[in-house]
Structure formats: structure tokens, C-alpha cells
């Protein structure tokens, strides 16, 4: 009997390739094509806000090696829809003033980095030199930088958007203002979170090849939604969907930024390939990624809360201002997630949340791992800490009295979530998680440790933060499972892979369901030729959505295999089992047939090519009195299915951290980091832990190091890895203690929940809490209200609380 692979720490099949330098990324595509491949470069606005008066490309026209130079004025003639703004991917009724940019700026630029002109040349050097020769005359306009400036609205980003307000959305459950007024205790908090960004090691990149003989376009792009890019390219280039293939090869990290699409270059590169009849490549450089991809996180929050003597929430009233940058291609997803997921594992009873999503002359904001949840978690958990401090209670106890209890699921929070569905939690066990995290971090023993350290002149503090994460949002994913005549299994799902280990976990699921060897299963993702229906990789949804679809598709293939094998073996399908790729009658292993042979039998052939097909031409399955392929059947041993859940499934977890702060330098050191994580049933605990490690590492960066340093004129001053402090392995704790809780989801056949983003969600909250706890040993009034926090900022805070 084959060991069940679900739940096993199966080694990742991807890593041999990745570690040996054999990953194939977009920039690797087309190298074999050599001299025919052309290279693109983009002229980007040096100004955060300016009118374009004139673009002079004269100096480029006769430059040797330049094949095309385009500005906005050229686009309409190349393809009429290219002259329209880029799509607003997710409209929302509250987004009353949504704006998107043009593929190349028309008349005005709204952030430093916005694409203005596009050059295609023999190589990137010539293309960059050509870019340098284009002369643009600007009339600079006053830039709006930062949430305060956006709210003051002394200048407008878009002159037809009053107050710089793109959207205002309010949701209510009960009557929070009245409940707060009537509450025995109230508090208010003002918090800020700064901008950061995904910063994947591989930036954006696109290669396109027009096949004149086939009248088809092939596009390779580093995206989180190949089907989305395909649809966008088809529409914008005026092609039929069936003329466009989009292939997503290995992707060197996405973390959210590549779910936004189409980027200008994702359209301009295919456009150039078609116009020039040569393959064209664009590979984003690091500075371009900083100034022309997307950022996230920046919010200012005001919280009013009313509570009873136990710290039980009676009313929660949250107002926040979300900086969405210059454009809103991804709608209101990020602030909607903040406003709903803020509630975490708690029952506020009465909740009012209102946000304004504001324009600024900065790089636009689209989801970054966590997608608004880190900010929401920060608001809620800082509130919990404030309540505990006010009441003089243990921070864990205040959280516990507010938990949704295990017998209350499904629990409807009464709000509308990002997918337009009810915010209804499917399952969870928050009290059990709390007990686990307290044990894991040593919560109850900490006061003694803190006192002991204080006696040595050392400052240590502990923080705790809880979150609930809606994962696996719809609408659907699909899968195709094909058992070849060799017995090998080819699996295709449409969403893309950025290194998560999909080829491993999906193969585990197929091996389990089909009864084949793990190594015989090969998984392909993100190739529209193999699975044209798909949504994308975001919202911690790949395992839940594609995992479930693959499980269902494997089931379909198995049903068909058993039906054919039952016929061949003259047994009932329910008496058969499949082990290691061999179908046999239970209890009589002599009566068996290889799955490969079953596949041969599934496809009546006229011609013989090999041993397997010879078998198919000689044997006849089915009823000789009927057609070789029955009316309700199709040739081939395949299964295809889709999974579409009613709503998201809600994972949860808790993080705790112990930090030490240096009394002199204010340096912040992590002594212990503990995670309790509940993503339902685990497919591969090693991969889940890897996701947690990666999330914690990004969270450490977001809490202690990373920020987008814009000056008042909207220039990003730290647009390089020399200046933007991404944490190294030296800054990430070398041991992260992880414990799992498995509360299965009732919404999908495997009982799984998403795990991709969880690790980053509580970081700002948990570090603020721990640092504050350490500092309050001698400065009881010190409060950390702005994250991230650097040693310099902590030092300044100390000066303000002598």
C-alpha cells in the first residue's frame, strides 16, 4: 500500500533545478533565438507630477540599432484600444473616482517612474542610450506626497478628483458610536504604517513572439495571472483570445506585485513583436521596480473603542486613510481587506469602519503579501494592548475574552469581504491557538525573565498578535489530469507559481488520489495552452483552489480508469484499487492492469506507433456492437474539473516575539519568535513552514527596516538595495518556533486553508507590542504608534519620554 503523501514532508521537486541554476525565468526565454531578439527600454518620468508639453524623439530616429520609438501619440495607430487607459481590474461602487494610467503617459504624469516612451533596439544598451536622447518638456505641477498632503488637498493629483478621494466606504455592524458612548471605558488611538513593497528578486519581465505563419502571439511574462494577461493582451491588441498564448515560466518571487496586470510593458512588448515581426524582450531593472511597479501598506488610522471591566469589546469605531498612490488599477481590494480582516478572531459586537482611499503622486498601491491585513491586524492588536494596559490586565487575557468560541462557527461578522461575499468564518479554534502560543513562547514565565534581565541592566519585552486570514477566495480554479500510455501523469492548472512548491504539493495530491507514484506526476502551471481557464495566484489561494480542483480532476480520471479497467479485468469498479500505478482487484493482486495500459485502452487507435499503441490497435474494449467511443465518452484517460467555493476559508494564527532593546543605541534584537498557525489540514508541513519562515522574514523587514523614503517632491530616495533595507538572513531570527493547529475547512474536499501570506500579517503589531513592552520597563508612558520603527526612531521616542 502506497503511503499517503498528504501531510508528509515531501522534498520539493523544484529545488534541484533552482539550486543548480536551471530555473527558467522570463529573462532566459529567447536567448537561443540570439540575434533576432530585440530589447526594449522605457523612458520614465523624472517628475512626480507634471504636464507633458512636448516629447522630442528626433535624436533617436536615426540612431543605429533602434527599431522603434513610441510615445502615446503612436499607440492608436498600432492598436486603437492601446490609446485607452489601462483597465481598472476590480471596480467597486464605492470607487467613485477610479483612475488608471495609460500604457504611455498622455499629457500628464502622476508619479516619478510613469512610462512615457518606449524604445526597441538591437540590445538593451542601445535602447537605454536611445531613451537618454529623448527630450521631454514638462510643466511641473505641485506634487501630493503622503497621506497628510492628500487629505489637506491643497493640490490635487487628478484635477477632476476633489479632495484626492478616490473612494470612501463605510460598513456598520450594530451601532458602534452609541455602544462606545455607553461603554464604561473608552480609548482612542492614532496609528500610522508606512509604505513598503514586495521587492521580488526577479522584477517584471515580458517576452513576446508573433508567429506570422500561424497568425498567433506567444507571450512569456512574469505574472501571477497568465489568463488575466492573456485576456488583456488580446483586448488591447485587437486579437481574438484564441490567437494569444501566455506562458508563465519560473517566477523569481511575486508577493502580490505581479497580480496587477497588464503592466504597460506587458502590452507594449507584444505590440512591438507584432509590429516589428521580431521577438521582443523587456526585463525590468531594480530601480524601475522601485519606481514603476507597485507599493503597499501606507495608512493612517484612528480608532475609538469602548469596553467593559474585563476588556470585552462593546463597540469599535475605526477610521482610516489609505494611500493608494497615483492610480487604482486594483480597485479597493487592499483597504477593503484592512477594514474587514481587522476584526481578527474577535467579536466586537458593534463595529463601524470607514476608510478613504486617497490619491498621491507616488507609485500606485496594489496588494503586497498580506494585502491590507498587516495594517488591520496592527490596528486591532494595538487596541487590544492598549485596553490591557488601561485595565492593568494580562494582554493574552484581554484577547481571550473577545475570542469567537469554537462552537460559534460558522461565524458571520456581518460585513462584506473583498470577494463581495459575506465575511463568514468557516472554522477555527482561537482559545486552543492561544494556549499553544503561550506555551511555545513562554508567556507565563516571561515576567520573571524580564525581571531577571532588568536586574542585569537589560531590557526585554514580549508581544503577542492574533490574526484571521480569509484565504482561497474564488471565483474558481480548474485542473486537467492526463494519464499517458506510459503511466506518467501530466497535470495542468492555470494559476501561476512563484516558487511556492506547487509542483510538489499538487503532485502529492494526485499521487494520493490516483494511486500513482509521486515521481510519475508532473505539474504544469500558468500556461494558457494547457489550462485556459484560471484566475491567478493571490490571496493565499493556490493550495485551496487549484489543490481542490486538482483533487477533483484526479478523481474524475480515476473514475474513468476504474471503469475501463473493470471492463478489461471483468470486475466491478468498486472492487478495484490502484497502487503505484497498477489497477488490481482487491484481494487478488494477480488480476491487474497498468494504468498506462488503461490509458492505451481509453483511446481506440487506427495507427500503431509504439508498443503501447500496438496494443490499442489489437484490443477492443467496450461493446463491439457500439461505436469505439461511446456517445457519453471521449477518448483518452483524462479528468478535468473545477473548484468554486461559496466563499473564502479563514485561516488563523498567533505570533509572539521576545525582543531586547539596547539601552544606549536603541538597537532592536529578536531573542525568540514563535508562531502558531492553523491552515486546516496540511498538505506538506515543510512547505507550510517554509511559507511561514518567508513571511516572518518579510514581516521583520516591514516592521524594523523597510520603508519607501519619498521626499516632498515625490522622488523615491531609496530606490536601490543599497538604500532600501531588505533584511538579510542576519536580521531574521535563525530559529522560528512553529506549532500547527489543524482545524479543517468544511468548504473544500481536502479541508485545507491558505498559508502563503500568514507569516507577514502580525509583524508590525507584534513588534510594536514587544518593543513597547521592553521600553516600558523604565518609560511607562512610551507608546509605539508608528511602524516600521528604526533604532533612531526608538531613540527619539525615548528622548520624548525621559
Amino acid at each position: 500500500m502506497t503511503t499517503k503523501l498528504m501531510g508528509q514532508k515531501v522534498q520539493r521537486v523544484e529545488d534541484q533545478r533552482f539550486l543548480r541554476g536551471q530555473g527558467r525565468y522570463v529573462d532566459d526565454v529567447g536567448i537561443a533565438g540570439g540575434a533576432r531578439l530585440l530589447h526594449a527600454a522605457v523612458l520614465r518620468s523624472p517628475h512626480a507630477h507634471a504636464r507633458i508639453l512636448d516629447i522630442d524623439v528626433e535624436a533617436v530616429l536615426d540612431l543605429e540599432g533602434v527599431h522603434a520609438v513610441w510615445t502615446y501619440d503612436d499607440l492608436a495607430d498600432l492598436a486603437a484600444p492601446m490609446a485607452e487607459p489601462l483597465p481598472l481590474l476590480i471596480p467597486h461602487p464605492a470607487l467613485t473616482h477610479g483612475r488608471t494610467q495609460y500604457a504611455l503617459a498622455k499629457d500628464e504624469v502622476n508619479y516619478a517612474g510613469e512610462a512615457i516612451a518606449f524604445v526597441v533596439a538591437d540590445d538593451r544598451y542601445v535602447a537605454e542610450d536611445a531613451i537618454g536622447r529623448i527630450r521631454v518638456s514638462y510643466e511641473t505641477l505641485p506634487p501630493v506626497v503622503g497621506i497628510d498632503a492628500a487629505r489637506e488637498a491643497r493640490s490635487l493629483v487628478h484635477e477632476d478628483v476633489p479632495g484626492n478621494i478616490g473612494a470612501r466606504l463605510e460598513q456598520n455592524v450594530g451601532d458602534a458610536p452609541a455602544a462606545i458612548k455607553a461603554a464604561p471605558h473608552t480609548l482612542s488611538l492614532d496609528l500610522t504604517v508606512e509604505r513598503s513593497a514586495c521587492t521580488p528578486l526577479e522584477g517584471r519581465g515580458t517576452v513576446a513572439r508573433w508567429e506570422p505563419d500561424l497568425n498567433r502571439l506567444q507571450v512569456w511574462t512574469s505574472t501571477q495571472s497568465s489568463t488575466g494577461v492573456r485576456a488583456a493582451v488580446a483586448v488591447k491588441l485587437g486579437l481574438d483570445l484564441g490567437q494569444v498564448d501566455v506562458i508563465t515560466p519560473d517566477v523569481g518571487g511575486g508577493f502580490g506585485v505581479k497580480i496587477n496586470h497588464p503592466w504597460p510593458e506587458e502590452l507594449l512588448v507584444p505590440l512591438a513583436a507584432r509590429a516589428l515581426g521580431r521577438p521582443v524582450k523587456f526585463t525590468e531593472d531594480r530601480r524601475e521596480h522601485f519606481i514603476s511597479s507597485a507599493h503597499e501598506r501606507g495608512q493612517v488610522q484612528h480608532i475609538e473603542v469602548g469596553f467593559d471591566d474585563d476588556g470585552r469589546l462593546l463597540g469599535l469605531d475605526v477610521e482610516f486613510w489609505h494611500d493608494h498612490g497615483a492610480y487604482t488599477p486594483y480597485g479597493l481590494i487592499v483597504p477593503i481587506i484592512t477594514s474587514t480582516q481587522l476584526l481578527g478572531p474577535y467579536k466586537p459586537h458593534n463595529y463601524r469602519v470607514v476608510f478613504e482611499s486617497l490619491y498621491t503622486n507616488t507609485v500606485m498601491v496594489t496588494p503586497y503579501r498580506g494585502a491590507g491585513r498587516p495594517q488591520g491586524c496592527y490596528a486591532m492588536e494595538r487596541t487590544m494592548d492598549a485596553i490591557a494596559t488601561y485595565l492593568g490586565k494580562d494582554r493574552a487575557d484581554v484577547r481571550a475574552v473577545n475570542f469567537i468560541q469554537p462552537d460559534e462557527f460558522p461565524f458571520d461578522q456581518g460585513l462584506i469581504f473583498q470577494d463581495g461575499r459575506e465575511l463568514e468564518y468557516d472554522s477555527g479554534d482561537y482559545p486552543a491557538s492561544l494556549e499553544k502560543i503561550k506555551a511555545l513562547v513562554g508567556w507565563d514565565e516571561f515576567p520573571a525573565f524580564q525581571a531577571e534581565m532588568a536586574a542585569q541592566g537589560r531590557r526585554v519585552g514580549i508581544g503577542l498578535a492574533c490574526y484571521v486570514e480569509g484565504t482561497g477566495v474564488g471565483p474558481y480554479e480548474g485542473a486537467h489530469v492526463h494519464i499517458e500510455t506510459s503511466g506518467k501523469v501530466k497535470v495542468a492548472t492555470g494559476l501561476t507559481t512563484q516558487g511556492q512548491g506547487h509542483a510538489t504539493v499538487f503532485a502529492q495530491l494526485v499521487a494520493d488520489e490516483l494511486g500513482v507514484k509521486f515521481e510519475d506526476v508532473e505539474v504544469v502551471t500558468g500556461d494558457t495552452r494547457r489550462m485556459p481557464y484560471a484566475v491567478g495566484t493571490f490571496a493565499s489561494r493556490a493550495a485551496v483552489m487549484s489543490g481542490s480542483a486538482i483533487h477533483l480532476a484526479a478523481k474524475r480520471a480515476k473514475e474513468k480508469a476504474l471503469k475501463i479497467a473493470a471492463d478489461a479485468l471483468e470486475a466491478a469498479p468498486e472492487d478495484l484499487e490502484i497502487v503505484d500505478g497498477v489497477v488490481s482487484v482487491k484481494g487478488s493482486p494477480g488480476a491487474s492492469i497498468d494504468l498506462g495500459t488503461v490509458s492505451v485502452l481509453s483511446n481506440p487507435l487506427r495507427y500503431a506507433f509504439d508498443e503501447a499503441s500496438k496494443a490499442a490497435t489489437q484490443f477492443s474494449v467496450g461493446d463491439p456492437g457500439k461505436p469505439p467511443v461511446a456517445e457519453d465518452d471521449e477518448p483518452g484517460l483524462e479528468g478535468r474539473d473545477f473548484y468554486s467555493p461559496e466563499r473564502a476559508t479563514f485561516a488563523s494564527g498567533m505570533h509572539a516575539v521576545i525582543v531586547e532593546t539596547d539601552p544606549e543605541t536603541a538597537e532592536i534584537k529578536i531573542l525568540k519568535y514563535a508562531v502558531v498557525h492553523d491552515c486546516g489540514h496540511l498538505i506538506n508541513p515543510m512547505i507550510v513552514e517554509g511559507q511561514i519562515h518567508g513571511g516572518v522574514a518579510q514581516g521583520v523587514g516591514g516592521a524594523l527596516y523597510e520603508r519607501m523614503a519619498y521626499d516632498e517632491s515625490g522622488q523615491l530616495l531609496n530606490a536601490s538595495f543599497m538604500d532600501f533595507l531588505m533584511p538579510y538572513v542576519t536580521e531574521v531570527p535563525d530559529g522560528i518556533d512553529i506549532d500547527h493547529l489543524e482545524t479543517p475547512s468544511p468548504l473544500n474536499p481536502l479541508g485545507i486553508k491558505g498559508a502563503g501570506e500568514a507569516g507577514v500579517i502580525p509583524s508590525a503589531a507584534v513588534f510594536a507590542a514587544a518593543i513597547e513592552d521592553a521600553e516600558r520597563v523604565d518609560r511607562p508612558a512610551l507608546a509605539i504608534t508608528a511602524m516600521p520603527i528604526s533604532p533612531s526612531e526608538l531613540y527619539t521616542l525615548r528622548q520624548e519620554h525621559p
Partner: protein, 211 residues
């Protein structure tokens, strides 16, 4: 980006004022300036090669002096653009007497530096412009002290002795060959900021805070 500061040139204000309004002096003393073209009264187009750290390139720029109150103050409006980035600046400049025979120049500038030089090089700009401005004023002092040595002789061929204060529009001035008054030109190019910042530096002197 706000820059304020002051600098002293060891010559009377009349001479300093005259030198700073003389394109032949400017083209010879501005670090990295290759070409200066008069485009109107107190208006120049210029070409400057400069670099901040690794970001080097040639900038095409324009400089217009306005609100001239002789020997007292002027406003300089600067624009420069090149492959490495852009600069836009408005500089208010005040002339005074530091001690007899010495001119004190106070300035406050509001500069917007964009593009790569603004993003990657900006943290270098203050220190780079400090060094460069110091060098520039030394050059100007030298030019005033040795008028026969270079600046006048460095004027474009064919227009010797052109009026100092109002060169004809379209008149072109090129930098003198090295060595000369700008003997440290190569060194200065390496640390210069860009067309606009170079001109900022003209008026910058060492970048001391005003208060």
C-alpha cells in the same frame, strides 16, 4: 530640496557681480561646463557634463537671471535635463559686504531633482555641491584676480572684447582648454552634480546653514 547658505569671495561686490554676469567667466569656471550660449538678456542655454557618484551624463540646461537689483540681489531660475535626470531650481541670491573688499553671497534655493540622480544620488547631493561650490568660488576669485589669464581670452573666437553685461543672443562661449583657470576641471567633473546643481553651486559656496 531646500538649500540655504552663504559664501565669501575676497573681492568687492562690483567685481563679483560683474564676473557672475559675464558668460565668459561662467563658462570658464563652472565645473564641467562645455558650452554656454546666450539666448537673451541674462539668459543662457548650456551643456554640462557631470556626475554624482556612478551616475554620470551630459545635461542640457537653461539659466535665466531675473529681478536684478544691481550689487544687491537677483533670482536665478535653472532647468537642466539629461539622461541621468532633471533639475529645476529657483535660487534667490543676495550680495553684501562681508568686510571691506570682500563680498558675502547669501542664497536660498528650492530645487527639485528628478530621475535617477534624484532617486539614487540625492543623498550625495549636499556634500557634492558643497565641494563643487567651494571649487567654483575659488575659480571665480582666480578669474577676477587674473583677468588677463583666461576668462576674456577664453571667449569664443571671433568675438574678442564683446560687451560683458549683454552678449548678443546666440553668442556661444566654450570652455577654455586645460589647464587654465579651471585647472581642476577634471576633478570637478567627477564630483559635479549636473547642469542645475552646477549653477546652484555657482552661488552656493560652502554649504553652511544660515542659522
Amino acid at each position: 530640496m531646500k538649500i540655504t547658505g552663504s559664501n565669501v569671495v575676497p573681492y568687492p561686490v562690483e567685481q563679483v557681480w560683474g564676473a557672475l554676469l559675464d558668460p565668459r567667466v561662467l563658462v570658464a569656471t563652472i565645473p564641467g561646463c562645455e558650452r554656454l550660449e546666450s539666448t537673451g538678456e541674462h539668459a543662457y542655454g548650456m551643456t554640462v557634463t557631470a556626475g554624482v557618484a556612478a551616475i554620470k551624463g551630459t545635461y542640457a540646461g537653461a539659466c535665466v537671471l531675473s529681478d536684478l537689483v544691481e550689487h544687491e540681489s537677483l533670482v536665478m531660475r535653472l532647468e537642466g535635463a539629461g539622461a541621468p535626470g532633471t533639475i529645476d531650481a529657483t535660487v534667490r541670491v543676495y550680495f553684501g559686504e562681508a568686510e571691506p573688499g570682500h563680498t558675502k553671497i547669501d542664497y536660498d534655493a528650492d530645487a527639485v531633482v528628478g530621475g535617477m540622480v534624484g532617486g539614487v544620488g540625492q543623498r550625495m547631493l549636499t556634500s557634492v555641491s558643497r565641494r563643487m561650490a567651494g571649487e567654483f568660488f575659488t575659480n571665480v576669485g582666480g578669474a577676477i584676480g587674473a583677468p588677463a589669464g583666461a576668462p576674456a581670452a577664453a571667449a569664443a573666437p571671433g568675438v574678442p572684447g564683446a560687451p560683458v553685461a549683454s552678449p548678443a543672443a546666440g553668442q556661444v562661449f566654450t570652455a577654455p582648454p586645460k589647464p587654465g583657470i579651471a585647472a581642476r576641471d577634471d576633478f570637478l567633473k567627477g564630483i559635479a552634480v549636473g547642469a542645475g546643481l552646477v549653477l546652484l553651486g555657482v552661488l552656493a559656496g560652502s554649504l553652511r546653514r544660515r542659522r
